[in-house]
């Protein structure tokens, strides 16, 4: 069973490469480079998984995370971030672990760039499958 994945990432090259890989893996992939668009796409469609960057034009990734948390039927989320620090949140004070801990309140996994593609694919598969199982239960 294939899953539906949305990639929200401002780096077009990365989007292209990831979409390529994921489509070849058999997933249905949507891509957007803008935070606002991403949010409206989530509101209008049902996704199994979200690959989300934080530093986005239009709307910050964290805002998207927070808006999703309120939804009842929500996708699994993997945050893919380039920064270890949390300038936007904690008065410019960087806290590596807290940053990740904090993000994990909203997301299922946090992956730092540059990442090992194979490991990410394992994670994606795991999360998509889990989502399907959950849906099947209901």
């Amino acid at each position: 069973m294939t899953g539906k994945i949305l990639i929200i990432e401002d780096d077009k090259g990365l989007c292209e490469e990831m979409a390529d890989i994921l489509e070849d893996e058999g997933y249905c992939v949507n891509v957007t480079f803008n935070g606002c668009n991403g949010k409206s796409l989530i509101e209008r469609n049902i996704y199994d998984l979200l690959l989300l960057d934080l530093k986005l034009p239009g709307l910050h990734g964290l805002s998207i995370l927070k808006s999703i948390k309120k939804k009842e039927e929500k996708p699994r989320i993997i945050v893919i971030t380039g920064s270890h620090f949390f300038m936007e949140l904690n008065k410019k004070q960087w806290r590596c672990k807290n940053h990740e801990e904090y993000l994990l309140k909203f997301a299922d996994a946090v992956i730092h760039k540059p990442f090992d593609v194979e490991k990410v694919l394992v994670k994606i598969k795991e999360l998509v499958d889990w989502n399907h199982q959950a849906i099947n239960i209901y």
Binding site: D11, I21, G82, S83, R95, P114
Partner: protein, 729 residues
Amino acid sequence: MESERIKTGGLDRFGKKAEKVLGQKFTGIKKRSVNDYQKLINELEGYQVELRMQNEDLRNAHEELLKSQKRYFDIYDFASIGCLIIDQNGKILETNLTGAWMLGMERDCLMKSSFSRFVAGENRDMFYLHCKRIFETSLKHSCDLKLVKKDGTTFFAQLESIAFKDIEGRCRQFRTAFIDITENKNVEDKLKEKTHDLIRKNKELNCLYNISAIVEKSGISLEEIIQKIVNIIPSYWQYPEIACSRIVLDGREWRTIDFRETIWKQASDIIIHGNVSGVLEVFYTEEKPEREEGPFLREERNLINIISERFGRIIEQKRNEKALQDSEAKFKALSENSPNMIFIQKNGNIVYVNKKCKEIIGYKSEDFYSSDFDFFSLYTPEFRDTIKINFERLINGDEIPQCLYTIITTKAGKRIKTILSAKKITYEGDKAILGIVTDITKLKEAEKVLKRDKATFERFVREKTEELIRAQKKLQNAKRLSDIGTLAATVAHELRNPLAVIQTASYNIRRKNRNPLLDKHLDNIKKCISESNQIINNLLFYSRIKNPKHEKINIYDILDECIVLQEERFHKENLLIHKDISSLKDIYIEADCLQMKELFINILNNSYDALTENAGDNISRDTGGNGGGNLISNGGRIDILALCNGSDFIKMYFKDNGPGISNGDLNKVFEPFFSKKSKGTGLGLTVCSQIVCLHEGKIEIDSEKGKGTTITVRLPIERGKDDRENSYN
């Protein structure tokens, strides 16, 4: 005898009378004998002689009488008092010359005129009463009357009168003697005036005396004094029962209880130190007859002025007293609390010593003040004479040195080095010497210590200066680093994105072209990405000065994980990792997990770099080989040894057999951006040092050129416990 008879016709008259008497007699005795007649004649002749003699006597007496009369008349006429005989109708019957002269009239004109016309109108009733009393009592009476002379001038006269009976035995006249008492009267008036003056003066004095009594009463405040003075003032005015008073001084008021302001007011300014500072007022609460100043007397004006003047002086005095007291108290406090010994010496005796004096020298006040106490004996003999001479010179008004160095022996026999400074003063009216003695023992000691420690101090200063310079350098570095940190953080994020793309892209290449020939290149890309990422991590880590998040972590697991992670790289370069870390098993330390990983990875990276950097010298390259594991090491290895010291700390040794570091560079390796390598940021060991420091541990590096390097890391098991340096070696 005949002639005498003629002369005195009176006697003739007496003769005829006699003859007449005789004739009658003779007729009775006619019948007498001749003898009888002869006898008779003889008798008669005897009588005649007798008579003649008697007559002579009488005549003499008469003349004497006349003379006397004339004399008394003169006395009467020229007596110093005026004499009058006045009848019951007040008419003058007789007067002497003095009387007429006193009344200013001729004696003759005065006769029969009424005495009342000479009595001043206002005294006529009195004169009438006087007359009445004289006739009623027939005793002597006197009265003072004002009389008017004919020419209109007046004088005071004192009359003394007594009634007398006339020939018929009836009291119809009286004699009066009067004298001019004008002068007496004037004197009396003056006396009265003087008496009045005296009474007034007495009153003033009384008032001032009472004021003084109030002022001199001890233990009474100035406010109370003023109130008491205000209270007594009304009693010295003419109408004390309706008088009230008030004193206004420097804006404050004191009043009598019944005080009420009215229009009947007498006031006087109070002058203190030449300035009008207030006013003293007296009011009458009811209207009283007009006197010199409204209802007030001239004397009262005088009195109020005197009181206000005196009052001003009292206030001046009291204020001066207060100022003096304050000043005295101040100086006493100053003297008693002085750290110096202070004494006053008068005529060789001590009259004052302060607390410090007693404290240091050890004698009691009464010892000092007793007349046989010799203050000079306190100075050690070598100084005694100098001080005596100087004191004498001082008393004579000569200059002496400002400070005299001397040694004082205390009661307990202790010798104190002191500086004595003496001044000539006036104490209770006499010349005296005020001495101030400063104990310089401590000063001297301090001086000694100072001299001895000068070298130490200099060294200390030098060290501190160096430390300061180092700190300054550090600070400059920190500033530079914080700028670099911001830059690094920005660059890192921007670099990671392309790295992620490269990594993903190379994955796609590998996936889409299953060509083993490309694998080698793609592996290189992968390795470079990993290295780049580590550089970014170090840069980022270094730029963040942060406190570790302490947790109980299993240090063995973390170290092992890091070694395993690096093993692959080491093996590819044919480097040997030998670990002996089993003693850390089940040891939990308080540390930040991520920082520990960072620490170990950096140390291992550093060793890896050291072992591979100069590979060209030591490592032969097999170009014909396949894939990664084609480099053959000549025995490059890293030994990792971990030890645990009970419950205090752990120690880890990372020993490589690389080229080593020269001595000159050894102490720079922990400095940021110091690198001898062709690549890298020079931050790896700096980050390590920071992490260890933050964990209250210690990192050391030992190296010998050509033999290898050992990095030793010591970490406490519990925070704040490891303060025993080098106890484990």
